[in-house]
């Protein structure tokens, strides 16, 4: 059994700064276990993946319809030579998918997070976005994470229409970047067409 009582201790009476610092630095901190780094990083990356499953991650406004398809078409963006586009900030790809919409992928690599960025999509005559057939300009506000981000636009082009450009603008902090994407002719035997009503 131990008792606690007060005694005069000779050493600390004139404790110098360096002695005090020595005692302070020796005060123990338990080391985390061997799996600490792995466990923490796994949890952090898992939390990010969970967050990415939300549609908003790809700038998507409410009810945006193409999250899963956009992820799958990432390879197409690379393989179809879309990087040769004259875009100042993005690549695009066309998905020859029969009667489904052409999905245009706009890739934005932001060096930092852009909170509250305004994204505006302006469509040419004869083109609409699936789910927004009566709208030729769509605008919404979103946080754009740092790094690579992709905006997928499910484009429907009116039968007999070719050419025209889709304009994508991003505004943040008073700055603005714009991209014009040419709508190519639908591939032979493929491509989507709609009849506007």
């Amino acid at each position: 059994m131990r008792s606690r009582h007060t005694v005069n201790h000779p050493a600390p009476a004139q404790l110098a700064d360096n002695e005090l610092i020595g005692v302070l630095r020796d005060m123990p901190v338990p080391q985390p276990d061997a799996g600490y780094e792995r466990r923490v990083l796994r949890a952090v990356l898992d939390s990010q993946q969970a967050r990415n499953k939300r549609p908003a991650w790809f700038f998507q406004p409410t009810r945006w319809p193409v999250a899963a398809a956009a992820i799958m078409l990432l390879t197409l963006v690379f393989s179809q030579g879309a990087l040769r586009e004259r875009s100042p900030m993005a690549g695009q790809a066309w998905a020859p998918v029969g009667q489904t919409p052409h999905t245009v992928h706009v890739v934005l690599d932001s060096p930092r997070q852009l909170r509250g960025a305004i994204i505006r999509v302006t469509l040419p005559a004869g083109a609409v976005l699936e789910g927004y057939r009566d709208v030729d300009t769509l605008q919404w506000q979103a946080d754009i994470p740092a790094g690579g981000n992709r905006l997928s636009l499910p484009l429907l082009v009116q039968e007999g229409i070719s050419g025209g450009t889709v304009q994508v603008e991003i505004e943040h902090g008073g700055a603005r970047k714009a991209l014009e994407i040419s709508i190519p002719s639908p591939p032979d035997g493929g491509g989507a067409s709609i009849t506007k009503t």
């Binding site: 131990r2 008792s3 606690r4 201790h9 020796d26 123990p28 690549g91 930092r112």
Partner: protein, 189 residues
């Protein structure tokens, strides 16, 4: 090809991989500081994880930081203040001491010099808890973890002069706590 595209499509590593490479060397140091502040292993790990979750989307920003170690500790400190200090009157659980929890197994045996040092550490721990938050933070960062006064000033967002004056006063108070008549020694009956 423009710069944006070049950077995006030629980048061989994902942002997540880059993030892991950036922060991995600093994880143990972050844990140490988190533990110094929270005095609890689980809360220290949770605090580090919380900060990293917030930083993951900012990988590009992290890459531009010149000295990432102190920068991460600054973020950690601010998050600690947000999560703990503003929530509680004191971040220190007064019931927690070197007598229990994680630190028990680290204490030396009952040998003479070891015991004296252990008792000094216990007295210091109590004295640290009695310091003002800002004074204690400076002691933790500067005297216990070895950050320079400039780094401490940057981490705590105060002037170097303030760091020095608070450090001086904090040390004086700590020394006083170890002066004759105040140091308690445990002895076997």
């Amino acid at each position: 090809m423009n710069t944006w595209l070049t950077r995006f499509f030629h980048a061989p590593r994902s942002p997540e991989d880059r993030f892991v490479s950036l922060v991995s060397p600093h994880l143990r140091r972050m844990y140490r500081m988190a533990y110094r502040w929270t005095l609890n292993a689980h809360e220290a790990e949770d605090l580090v994880q919380d900060v990293l979750v917030r930083l993951l989307p900012r990988t590009a920003e992290l890459e531009s930081v010149e000295r990432l170690g102190p920068w991460l500790v600054r973020v950690l400190y601010r998050r600690f203040v947000d999560l703990y200090r503003r929530r509680c009157a004191s971040p220190i659980d007064p019931s927690q001491s070197l007598d229990d929890t994680d630190q028990e197994s680290r204490l030396p045996g009952d040998g003479g010099e070891d015991l004296r040092r252990t008792e000094m550490q216990r007295a210091l721990q109590r004295a640290l808890q009695e310091l003002d938050d800002e004074w204690r933070d400076i002691v933790l960062l500067h005297d216990m973890e070895g950050y320079t006064t400039i780094e401490v000033a940057d981490i705590m967002d105060i002037s170097v002069g303030t760091v020095k004056s608070r450090l001086h006063r904090a040390r004086a108070k700590l020394k006083k706590s170890l002066s004759p008549g105040t140091l308690q020694i445990s002895e076997a009956c």
